[in-house]
């Protein structure tokens, strides 16, 4: 037994040393041939003849699976345009386009480790995330608000006194609730759902009185609910957030190409057509219409494209 214990200690210590060594490694200079930086992503695509898009399974209407399990959505459409531009740029008409499902938790690690090349979802461009990844110019602006049951009588933050509020773990929403001056003075019980569907279930089943999330995602969840009339989105905007397409850092060539593609769509007004298709008309799988007109904020973002994070 004694011998065993020493063995184990040695193994654990060894593991620690290996990991410490990983951490101590200086970042590889971008000149090294294996580095996915500088001309990284385009180079990688050229060498492999394929691009891998990170897609979401249920971020309606940005990136989700339809009845045929095919990836569709507003962000997917925009990514397709980027793929077209890459085909032209690299002169690769037969570029293979692969999709790889990602979640809130996996999207950044899978991007940094090279599993996906471009994430087409509903990812907030935040300064914290910019430490690890890079974003395109904003293709959507969302407002963080709360969904409540229509008959609950909750219309504003102060109505949450003594109530239970659910947020989805891994989202930025819970922070805004914690940081909001008005909400700070209230006695609110916070719950966490593991994903949006589960958080919404907590609201629908009465475990939570309000669900704080991006209004567009709330609208999507409500539209799919058994009785959409039973819910409404209320309260002040806790935060405005720009969504962007996400790709690897320190890759100016790739970023320029993605931004150029989106900026051109914004300048020609083509992006509004795409917007109206996904937000103002019936969409699969259930032919629901989200009815979210282009907001003044987003209009401004289309007129003056920016990749500023919050």
């Amino acid at each position: 037994m004694m011998k065993n214990r020493f063995c184990l200690g040695a193994v654990l210590t060894g593991l620690g040393l290996v990991l410490a060594a990983c951490g101590a490694q200086p970042p590889t200079p971008s000149s090294s041939p294996t580095a996915t930086s500088a001309t990284g992503t385009l180079e990688k695509i050229k060498n492999s003849g394929e691009i891998v898009l990170g897609v979401r399974e249920s971020s309606i209407p940005f990136s989700y699976l339809d009845n045929q399990q095919k990836s569709v959505g507003y962000s997917i459409d925009l990514c397709q345009k980027v793929v077209e531009a890459i085909k032209q740029e690299l002169n690769l008409p037969n570029l293979q386009v692969k999709t790889n499902p990602v979640t809130s938790q996996t999207r950044i690690p899978l991007l940094t480790n090279g599993t996906i090349d471009l994430e087409c979802g509903s990812t907030t461009n935040s300064q914290e995330r910019q430490k690890q990844v890079a974003f395109s110019v904003a293709h959507f602006i969302t407002a963080v608000r709360m969904a409540v049951k229509a008959d609950s009588g909750i219309t504003d933050l102060q109505d949450l006194q003594g109530k239970a509020v659910v947020t989805t773990s891994g989202t930025t929403s819970e922070r805004y609730l914690k940081q909001n001056e008005q909400a700070k003075s209230l006695d609110i019980k916070t719950l966490q759902g593991k994903d949006h569907a589960e958080s919404f279930l907590m609201l629908a089943s009465g475990r939570a009185d309000a669900f704080v999330l991006d209004d567009v995602l709330l609208a999507g969840l409500i539209a799919q609910a058994k009785d959409p009339q039973a819910f409404k989105i209320v309260g002040p905007t806790l935060s405005r957030e720009p969504y962007g397409l996400m790709f690897r850092k320190n890759d100016p060539a790739f970023k320029a190409l993605v931004d150029k593609t989106l900026t051109r769509l914004m300048a020609t007004g083509a992006i509004e057509k795409t917007y109206n298709h996904w937000f103002m008309s019936p969409i699969p799988p259930q032919q629901i219409n989200l009815n979210l007109p282009l907001s003044p904020d987003l209009k401004k973002a289309f007129e003056h494209p920016t990749d500023q994070g919050i």
Partner: protein, 248 residues
């Protein structure tokens, strides 16, 4: 990986929302993991012992009850069981109780997680207890009854003391499992170790460091569970029963 910025000091940095530091979150998560696991373990041990015993009694209907319990709780995935306890049960009971379960029960996620984990683990412990009892030579119970002991006395003084010593190794695995299984509680919103790990990851995106540390913490918990049981095994070992042989 060339683009990944390593930062092993991330745990000592302040949380973006201010006030706390990330290691405090980790400690809180570790606390919930340990509390959930140990409480569930105590309940599961009592329940599993009872059900394991009734599965070996001469009373047919009692043994059948135990059998039904084990089959139900052993065959449904834990993640599904937690979901049922948390989301479905409150809507199956009368509305008054349902409301209490949803809104008024103290620590609903924790309580649900403990109960669910205990029922699931009890089924597995019951099987081990049964196996231990059935592994005894039939002469043991016959001799006990011949001495004039009642069935309960035979179990209490003769059968269980040996059977329970025999099943310490599989129980060790079960105790190590319960720590790992407790991570399923994140699906009902309990902020245990895996949940806070994922949360810190979302705040900082230093995934590799954070999940590495979580892995080490789980390994340490399992190791401590293993050592504790080894100590108990050494403490209770009896000569002549084929127990604790070949171990130093």
């Amino acid at each position: 990986m060339a683009d990944y910025r390593w930062n092993w000091l991330i745990f000592f940095e302040k949380v973006a929302t201010g006030g706390e530091r990330y290691y405090q979150w980790l400690l809180a998560g570790l606390g919930w993991t340990v509390a959930t696991s140990l409480l569930a373990w105590c309940l599961a041990l009592i329940l599993g012992l009872g059900i394991g015993i009734i599965r070996t009694t001469p009373l047919r209907w009692l043994a059948l009850l135990g059998e039904i319990y084990v089959e139900i709780f052993r065959n449904i995935p834990l993640i599904v069981q937690m979901f049922l306890w948390f989301f479905v049960l409150p809507d199956l009971v009368p509305p008054v109780w349902g409301h209490w379960l949803k809104q008024e029960m103290p620590l609903p996620e924790f309580t649900t997680a403990v109960v669910s984990l205990a029922f699931f683990t009890a089924a597995r412990i019951a099987e081990q207890v049964k196996a231990g009892l059935l592994a005894l030579p039939p002469g043991q119970s016959q001799a006990a009854l011949a001495l004039g002991l009642t069935w309960p006395q035979a179990y209490r003084y003769v059968l269980l003391p040996v059977a329970l010593r025999w099943i310490i190794p599989p129980l060790t695995s079960e105790l190590m499992n319960i720590f790992k299984n407790s991570s399923v509680a994140l699906t009902i919103g309990l902020l245990e170790l895996t949940a806070v790990t994922r949360q810190i990851n979302e705040y900082t995106f230093q995934s590799f460091e954070i999940f590495t540390l979580a892995t080490v913490l789980y390994a340490l918990l399992a190791l401590m569970a293993n050592r504790l049981m080894a100590w108990i095994e050494a403490l209770t070992t009896l000569p002549g029963y084929g127990l604790g042989q070949g171990r130093e």
